[in-house]
């Protein structure tokens, strides 16, 4: 028995004692094949999943390495069955390969005829395949590259894709490191992606995903299609690219609800791509408009399902996914794996924070006692109205106002889900409200004023949740949120995690009505934060 930092559990979770002297070394080793599930202060939890193990295989690790690592660092004996299972799972990756055959084009190849036989018998797979050339090679119908990979993953036989990529139309792009330098991990992430061909880079909010994207473009030196969540994000990408790369304004196009420009570098929103006219996706031509050399998916964990379908069609182009988390609440991690590619680079949040790029956040949950009248109202409310009621109570509004007043000298963001509530808060505090109907132009103006410090406080609705750079927010007050979505929580926290000029720590308040469903949902979200290593406090509203 060694005295290692790892404890391997029988449910395939791995516990890492971070206070152990070998923990750093060990963490680097296991991060390549196990997925970090929680990273609270003492013991981190990793999980061994088939996808994680296959990601590791894709990165060139073999089962022997994984097993050796576990045995080397494990404090207790590791159940043999678990090791056997790891070897079994890992051996499944790469037994099937997609290759470009000089004569027959795209082919499915395996040195194991039994596996080939097994998968070809699948009802879903058979129609994608053509003639069998020999024992080890089967022709794949052109255009089925992505769908086949999806289907094979579902069967538990993920195929390794060696069919190569088209170079796309060349376009000179280089990084313009004037007054700034690319950070080490950003460079590693871009390189990791480039060598892998296609795949996903996982970086926390505020860690500079845009720059990783820019660096990848500088590697590709080709026309690039960038898919982002919304128009504001699209403009930020454009501004960043102008600042960080050799690209000029007329080389970057925006393809959104408002504009339909197609340029060597085009930034399109998910929304415009998934817009349907008479049941047909009207803007799919964009994928074929230029011979793209690279496609970048921002916030890949939010990628809408239709985009997967388009992506399956463009498997010969290099694809880079950028995200803060691989966890998808719809469980479509497998789609990301098979269609965008395996994970190529990953840095846990705390890691980057410790390197000083992200300000540590102080999370505070404020428990609010409802008044007797409110409690009575809540108790008699219909089930479906309860959440809305308890998130928008009068008491809550008062506490939010009190908090905003308390921090009136700092940059404050008030975030919420219900427009009425936000409007009321905005009116009472005398500050602007940004919501879905606010025109893009006005939003940008307000954000600029906020950045420059002319506006100290902003009230924002859900629409402001993603991909908006608000570098100087130091206080976020969450008054209501969508039902316990972990991603949303992470995004909101992202708002205040951005580095502060003076190194102050940001604070994240979340207002919760006691003894209501609000509290139950809050518990889920907070657990996620705590698991990410952010210690939080609970205080009573009366203590403010």
């Amino acid at each position: 028995m060694t005295d290692g930092p790892l404890i391997v559990q029988s449910d395939k979770t791995i516990l890492l004692d971070v206070d152990h002297i070998l923990s750093d070394e060990c963490r680097r080793q296991i991060a390549s094949f196990a997925e970090l599930e929680k990273s609270p202060e003492h013991i981190h939890t990793y999980r061994l999943t088939p996808l994680g193990l296959w990601n590791a295989r894709a990165a060139g690790l073999d089962a022997e390495h994984v097993i050796d690592t576990l045995l080397k660092y494990s404090r207790f004996a590791v159940p043999h069955a678990l090791l056997v299972d790891i070897a079994e799972t890992m051996s499944r990756y790469g037994r099937l390969r997609l290759e470009a055959h000089p004569v027959h084009g795209l082919t499915l190849v395996s040195h194991d005829p039994a596996v080939l036989k097994e998968v070809t018998r699948g009802k879903k797979i058979a129609p994608m395949l053509g003639l069998q050339i020999d024992d080890e090679t089967i022709i794949v119908h052109p255009g089925q590259r992505g769908f086949l990979k999806q289907a094979l993953l579902k069967l538990g036989w993920p195929a390794e894709d060696f069919a190569g990529y088209v170079d796309g139309e060349a376009h000179e792009i280089s990084l313009n490191q004037d007054g700034w330098t690319i950070r080490k991990y950003q460079e590693l992430a871009a390189e990791g992606f480039w060598h892998g061909g296609s795949g996903v880079v996982v970086l926390p909010c505020g860690a500079g995903k845009t720059i990783v994207g820019a660096a990848a473009m500088a590697h590709a030196k080709a026309t690039t299609l960038i898919l982002v969540t919304n128009t504001v994000a699209a403009r930020q990408w454009r501004d960043e690219l102008l600042k960080r790369t050799s690209l000029h304004e007329d080389e970057i196009g925006e393809y959104s609800g408002a504009k339909k420009e197609i340029r060597p570098v085009t930034i399109a929103t998910y929304q415009v791509l998934t817009t349907r006219k008479k049941g047909v996706y009207a803007h799919l031509d964009l994928f074929d408009a230029i011979d793209w050399g690279l496609i970048i998916y921002d916030e890949v964990h939010l990628l809408p399902a239709p985009v997967f379908r388009f992506t399956a069609d463009i498997q010969s182009r290099r694809r880079l996914g950028l995200t803060a988390t691989l966890v998808r609440e719809d469980g479509m991690e497998g789609e990301v794996f098979s269609l965008i590619g395996p994970k190529r680079y990953d840095v846990p949040w705390r890691e980057i924070e410790q390197q000083g790029y992200i300000a540590p956040a102080d999370c505070v949950e404020v428990r609010i006692n409802l008044t007797d009248a409110e409690r009575m109202h809540y108790a008699t409310a219909e089930q479906e109205d309860r959440y809305r009621f308890c998130s928008t109570t009068e008491t809550k509004r008062k506490v939010a106002i009190a908090l905003a007043e308390k921090h009136k000298d700092e940059q404050v963001l008030i975030i919420g889900q219900y427009i009425d509530q936000l409007d009321a808060l905005g009116a009472e505090l005398g500050v602007p409200v940004i919501k879905g109907e606010t025109p893009i132009k006005e939003r940008e103006e307000l954000f600029n004023l906020y950045r420059s410090g002319e506006i100290k406080c902003l009230v924002v609705s859900k629409v402001a949740n993603f991909s908006i750079d608000l570098p100087d927010a130091t206080i976020a007050i969450q008054v209501s949120g969508t039902f316990g979505s972990r991603q949303e929580e992470a995004q909101r926290l992202g708002r205040v995690l951005r580095p502060k000029a003076d190194g102050r720590s940001a604070r994240f308040y979340s207002l919760v009505a006691r003894d209501t469903v609000d509290q139950d949902f809050a518990q889920n979200r907070q657990r996620f934060l705590a698991e990410q290593g952010y210690a939080y406090r609970i205080i009573d509203a009366d203590d403010i």
Binding site: I7, Q9, D11, E41, H42, F76, A77, P79, H80, I538
Partner: protein, 721 residues
């Protein structure tokens, strides 16, 4: 006069008898009264069968070869037809009394010969006539080839007719190289076959056991893996019993655990179904779980007792049960028509315990080796030729690994000690128990090793277990804290315990959670009362509660205007009236019940059955009786004529004919007891194998099943009709 088997046993020394008993332990129970009894027992078929099963392939082959020789035979004869190394096997066989000495020579007990069969090693009968082997040299063309076909057995061939056989066969028959068994069957005499076999019984005699191949392991790694297996298995066992205590599955009507329950349990444990079934079987063997009288499968008090022991004792209990059982858990879920159930009655297989012992014995001889299954199967086929079953072997290996007798496929030190009966040393190899936990900000706590029993129990109450293994991950939730409070803990005591036990500081949110739950716990109180007294006059309520006469009712004041009592309403009212109060009873909604309700039974009216006197019969009944009487008469008058037996087809033809003629007929009709009675009927129609006809006896339309109609005949002209 040759010596008998009993004489041979008598000639044995005490030490030799002792060795016989050691090799054939079944002879010991019960202990035979004398040597004749021992001889009888040792030469009985069941005992010989057992003894044969314990022979390895080489010994068995030598015994077979010995059977080909006629009694008595010399050792030299036996060695000549086998191999010189047969000497050791011969000694073994003699020691086990499967062969016995007669002076310098040997004999074989009759039952051993019977067991091996008429054609030992595929050899035919011993020739009765003299054979001149040299004559084979001048045999006609094709004769040798023909004989060669029968040499390695079966030693018989078929011809159309021996008398009209072709010249080659005729020549062979004439020279006694073949024997005509009957007019079509030819037999190859043993001497001829032996000659053609080159004087040896077997083509290839496997002299030594095949070497087991496999991957080499380090004993240290093996033991580590085995310890992991042992602690995992113990955990599975505990978890399964606890789970069934919470949600007991119901046994099938045929006995055993249903497939769905097995699947559910497997999901709960996070292991596959075959492993789950095995865990359940082992617990079942030890009576740690049992199928209760109401068909629920539940852990027993023996389980609680087992829980109090150390891991080593717990393991030893389970492993010993497994070693000795004849139940084969691997069969669970197999079966052609219906799958075999865990804990069911269909799992017993003879000889499995022996197989397991032999297997483990073999594994101890090949330490640090994880054997290849095929190689191990070959070896086991040599060591235990009659008992080895590849499936059972695979299952036994798999189970030994689950149990931690092996680790990484090779025998562990604990397994070795188990077999040799020495000190197991499991306890020392287990990780040392830890007495602390680490609490984290996400309201989880981690025990970085096996906890001491007291702390584990306490934690089990305070928190839910999220993950098990070398460590245990606990999670505190509102529910778990509430449970602890329900068990009589206070917020204070929970905090103190956690502060004392945790190596890390208590996170603020957890402290907040405990305080919050403790503050709210018990704010709502629930109790039991049978009746209440309600009165708007608080003075009267006060008076009642202080009334000495009512003291023994132990009334409790819940509110200034409400008292509750444990006694039933009727008693309370009566006692209040006795004490000169004037209570009125109200119903559940507070409405006064003015007068005592007239009491009515709640069940449906159901008068008792009575034995009635005969009442006057109705005309209808009388008419029916008369009709029956007449019909009886008529039948009797027809009776003398026996209805002829007809086959089903004839019956059908006749019936159709009579239906057309609309004639009355007599049929013989078998009742369900097989008795045949004659019925006079008017046939109406035939459908679905049934004759529909009017029965004269009752005057009603009745159905007669055609297969039961024994015969049909026309009714004699019926004067009355």
């Amino acid at each position: 006069m040759s010596s008998s088997f009993a004489d041979a046993l008598r000639a044995k020394s005490d030490a030799e008898i002792a060795r016989l008993f050691a090799a054939r332990p079944d002879l010991l129970s019960p202990v035979p009264t004398d040597l004749s009894a021992l001889a009888a027992r040792a030469s009985s078929m069941p005992s010989i069968l057992r003894s044969r099963d314990a022979l390895n392939k080489f010994e068995f082959d030598i015994l077979t070869a010995a059977v080909t020789l006629a009694d008595p035979f010399t050792p030299l004869e036996l060695l000549r037809i086998t191999d010189k190394s047969a000497k050791t096997a011969l000694a073994t066989l003699e020691e086990r009394a499967l062969i016995y000495a007669d002076g310098e020579k040997f004999r074989i007990p009759a039952n051993v010969r019977t067991l091996i069969g008429e054609n030992p090693a595929g050899l035919g009968p011993i020739a009765t006539k003299k054979i001149n082997i040299d004559a084979l040299d001048s045999a006609p063309k094709g004769a040798i080839e023909l004989l060669n076909k029968m040499v390695w057995g079966p030693p018989r061939g078929q011809v159309a007719d021996v008398k009209k056989a072709n010249p080659t066969i005729t020549w062979l028959l004439e020279n006694n190289f073949l024997i005509a068994f009957d007019s079509q069957t030819l037999l190859l005499p043993r001497e001829v076959a032996m000659h053609l076999r080159g004087g040896k019984v077997f083509k290839e005699l496997q002299l030594t056991a095949p070497i087991v191949k496999g991957a080499t392991r380090k004993q240290k790694a093996v033991d580590l893996a085995a310890i992991a297996n042992i602690s995992t298995f113990i955990r599975w066992a505990e978890e399964l019993a606890h789970h069934w205590s919470d949600e007991p599955p119901s046994a099938l009507r045929s006995g055993g655990l249903g497939v769905r329950d097995l699947k559910r349990t497997a999901e709960h444990l996070g292991i596959d179904e075959s492993c789950t079934a095995f865990v359940a079987e082992v617990l079942f063997l030890g009576g740690l779980i049992v199928i209760d009288t109401d068909d629920q499968i539940l852990p027993t008090s023996a389980f609680d007792l087992w829980l109090t022991k150390g891991v080593e004792d717990r393991w030893q209990t389970l492993v010993t049960l497994w070693l000795e059982t004849s139940r084969v858990a691997g069969l669970i879920g197999k079966g052609d028509s219906k799958s075999v159930a865990a804990l069911g009655p269909e799992l017993d297989r003879a000889g499995v315990a022996g197989l397991k012992r032999t297997l483990l014995g073999l594994l101890t001889t090949i330490p640090e080796l994880d054997p290849e299954i095929s190689s191990l199967q070959d070896r086991m086929k040599f060591d235990l030729p009659t008992r080895t079953n590849n499936d059972y072997l695979t299952w036994a290996l798999r189970e030994a690994e689950w149990l931690g007798i092996t680790g990484q496929g090779a025998i562990s030190s604990f397994g070795k000690s188990l077999i040799s009966g020495s000190d197991l040393g499991v306890e020392a190899a287990l990780p040392a128990p830890v007495d602390h936990i680490l609490i984290q900000a996400d309201n989880s706590a981690i025990a970085p090793g096996p906890l001491t029993i007291e702390i584990a129990n306490e934690m089990g109450t305070l928190a839910d277990i999220e993950s098990r293994g070398g460590a245990t991950v606990y999670r505190f939730t509102e529910g778990s804290i509430r449970r602890a409070l329900d068990h009589g803990k206070t917020g204070e005591s929970i905090r103190d315990f956690l502060k004392k036990t945790s190596r890390t500081a208590m996170p603020q949110p957890l402290e907040y959670l405990i305080n919050d739950v403790a503050k709210r716990h018990g704010r709502l109180r629930v109790g039991h009362a049978n009746s209440y007294i309600r009165c708007e006059d608080e003075g009267l309520i006060a008076q009642i509660i202080h009334d000495k006469n009512l003291e023994d009712l132990r009334l409790r004041k819940l509110a200034p205007q409400v008292l509750i009592a444990d006694v039933e309403i009727n008693e309370l009212v009566a006692r209040l009236r006795e004490a000169s109060y004037l209570p009125a009873v109200e119903n559940g909604t507070g409405i006064l019940i003015s007068a005592p309700a007239i009491r009515r039974a709640k069940s449906r009216p159901r008068p008792p059955r009575v034995i009635t006197e005969n009442s006057a019969p109705t005309e209808k009944i009388i008419a029916a009786a008369v009709r029956a009487l007449r019909a009886g008469e008529k039948a009797t008058s027809h009776k003398p004529r026996e209805v002829p037996r007809t086959t089903a087809n004839e019956t059908l033809d006749l019936l159709n004919q009579y239906i057309e003629e609309q004639a009355s007929i007599t049929i013989g009709y078998a009742d369900s007891n097989g008795g045949v009675s004659n019925r006079l009927v008017d046939p109406l129609s035939i459908s679905l194998g049934t004759l529909v006809a009017r029965d004269h006896a009752t005057g009603e339309i009745a159905q007669f099943r055609i297969p039961r109609i024994t015969g049909v005949a026309p009714a004699q002209s019926a004067p009355g009709e």
